[in-house]
């Protein structure tokens, strides 16, 4: 059984807007792959073919791009993909403990998806939140910083109820300590 993937009229209008930003027809591949992933949740072979057809490019080119960049999901992932940063700034602050704690809580290992298709866990490279370590990102979106086991529990509980944690604005330290 294979699903058929198609772009809606609105999507195609959006793609035209993207194409207008670039001088040639190859360049919109990345933003259109992003659009497709936001819509379908992944960019598997069939979605890549759809992108290639829409942009009138060889499927091999789109495949080449999609497989080069780690954020494009080449296969179906859980509804919530938990990317735990384990790069060395986070490593120094206990990221592996957090990763293993999440693995225990969800009963899967990094790189796997739960049987109900709700969660995937990945151990990823630096996400650019080194001062707020350890941290994780949910499905290429919200950052959750300063993790503790208690905070992870709250996040997982929220996600189980399909609620996304809110964006955390981290105050600029010199603003909060400045004399008024």
């Amino acid at each position: 059984m294979s699903t058929t993937y198609t772009f809606s009229k609105e999507d195609l209008a959006e793609i035209e807007k993207i194409k207008a930003k670039y001088p040639d027809k190859k360049s919109p591949v990345m933003p259109v792959l992003w659009l497709a992933q936001d819509k379908f949740g992944h960019v598997n072979d069939d979605v890549q073919k759809l992108v290639a057809e829409t942009l009138d490019l060889p499927p091999a080119h789109v495949f080449g791009v999609a497989t080069f960049y780690t954020q494009y999901y080449k296969k179906e992932m859980g509804k919530f993909v938990i990317d735990v940063c384990t790069s060395f700034s986070c490593q120094a602050c206990g990221a592996y403990d957090i990763l293993h704690y999440i693995e225990d809580q969800l009963g899967i290992k990094a790189g796997e998806t739960t049987a109900d298709g709700k969660f995937s866990i990945q151990s990823v490279e630096c996400l650019g939140a080194c001062g707020y370590a350890p941290m994780l990102q949910i499905t290429n979106g919200v950052y959750c910083n300063h993790l503790t086991k208690e905070k992870v529990d709250v996040i997982l509980d929220k996600l189980k109820k399909d609620e996304m944690p809110a964006f955390e604005r981290i105050p600029f330290p010199q603003h909060t300590t400045a004399k008024s």
Partner: protein, 428 residues
């Protein structure tokens, strides 16, 4: 001049609530420098380039190259399109500064990029932001939309005949795309393979046209220079590397985060005074001064070391992105170095053999040592591998992978020797 850093008021991210909003930014003198440059006939493109060159803004993305000098490499306009690629890829581990600009002061960057565009007769600016920064990409897109609505971007800006477009482009998780030629490949919708240089981007960049690549923070410095003059700018911080810098401080430290101070700050002041010292009152074992590619310094090498290109070169490291990682005395440097090598192995684009295979061998050898199966000769093997990688590839990723290995193994050799078997091979 550095004595007074305690009273320093941030310039890149000043303490003004809601400065990311157009109305607040304008009320605080925003876009005034753009108006001055575009409407005052005294400011020719050459003059703007010369002011920036004279101010000696050194690139904040890692290489520390003079921004004005880079601009002056652009050939004369021939009527065709010319581009700026603003580098907000920021994937050097330990670095998290540009996102502060997207979040707190995006219009300062936009204004700087438009002024740079005027100086080089640019037709379009592509802002490349790493894909993980979804929230910050949206903030930046909002700021760009606002600037279009106000007529600071688009056709005939402020009634002059200068026109420029700005587009935000999202990456998708590839460290290598922070390398300038790889970034251009990525913008052109390809795999991020670095290009062979020459031709340099100023001759043949994006879509074969003249292009300048500047870091986000570098461009955010431009309006400050135009406003206050190059002499004022040069008086901030270190003589040969002036200006404000966003220090990203992470690791075993009491108050990690981004701090804006002049260049040339004493490392000890940043650690002890600004960040409240090392966690648990411990000693510093290692400092990585500017992102993972810069050689680590031992805690006992830090006395008198300042955060500027020259001081750090003398100390045996580099300024990089000023993303400082502080490790305390209990850190296992073998574990640390293994994780650094894993990163480079993962991020090597695979074009050049010394890097593709070298990063893998480094990681494999470090896993062996980490697991207690290494031998003394593996330490020499690591250094030998570094020699075979350095300077033998298209881009600098192989060097960036080799340097931390070379300098961690040589400067923290006792940690490694403790973990390896002291095998003696008898000559048969």
């Amino acid at each position: 001049m550095l004595q007074d850093w305690k009273n320093y008021q941030p310039l890149l991210i000043p303490n003004i609530p809601n400065l990311h909003r157009m109305d607040v930014y304008e009320k605080n003198g925003g876009y005034e420098q753009l108006k001055k440059v575009l409407t005052d006939s005294e400011y020719s493109p050459e003059k703007v380039t010369n002011i920036v060159k004279d101010a000696n803004i050194r690139g904040r993305g890692g290489a520390g190259f003079s921004a004005g000098l880079k601009w002056s490499f652009m050939p004369k306009p021939d009527g065709g399109p010319r581009y700026i690629a603003a580098n907000g890829d920021e994937s050097e581990p330990g670095t998290f500064k540009d996102r502060q600009i997207f979040e707190y002061n995006p219009h300062l960057f936009i204004e700087g990029a438009i002024i740079a565009g005027y100086a080089m007769s640019i037709t379009a600016v592509y802002v490349y932001i790493r894909g993980e920064y979804r929230d910050w990409i949206n903030m930046m897109q909002k700021a760009v939309d606002d600037a279009y609505a106000k007529g600071y971007l688009g056709k005939n800006i402020l009634g002059t005949d200068f026109s420029i477009d700005m587009y935000v482009h999202s990456g998708a998780g590839a460290y290598i795309c922070g390398e300038e030629s790889s970034l251009m490949e990525s913008l052109e919708g390809k795999r991020g393979y670095p290009r062979v240089k020459p031709p340099f981007p100023a001759q043949k960049g994006l879509w074969g046209r003249p292009t300048t690549i500047n870091n986000i923070e570098t461009l955010a410095n431009v309006p400050l220079v135009i406003k206050n003059g190059s002499a004022w700018y040069k008086a901030i911080g270190a003589e040969t590397h002036p200006g404000p810098v966003l220090y990203g401080i992470s690791g075993h430290i009491n108050k990690p985060g981004i701090y804006e101070y002049p260049t040339g700050m004493l490392v000890s002041d940043l650690i002890n005074e600004v960040c409240g010292g090392v966690r648990g009152g411990k000693k510093v074992k290692a400092l990585i001064p500017g992102g993972s590619s810069t050689p680590p310094l031992r805690g006992d090498q830090l006395e008198g070391v300042r955060m500027d290109a020259d001081s750090l070169r003398t100390a045996g490291s580099m300024m990089g992105t000023a993303g400082m990682l502080i490790l305390d005395e209990d850190t296992d440097m073998v574990d640390f170095l293994w994780r650094v090598s894993l990163f480079y192995h993962h991020e090597s684009c695979g074009q050049c053999t010394p890097c593709r295979d070298g990063t893998g061998f480094l990681e494999k050898t470090l896993i062996k040592i980490k697991n207690g199966e290494g031998e003394m000769r593996d330490l020499d093997l690591l250094l030998d591998l570094c020699t075979q990688m350095e300077g033998r590839t298209i881009c600098a990723l192989a060097d960036a992978a080799a340097w931390p290995v070379r300098y961690t193994v040589t400067r923290f050799r006792e940690d490694f020797e403790k973990r390896v078997k002291n095998t003696v091979y008898a000559l048969a």
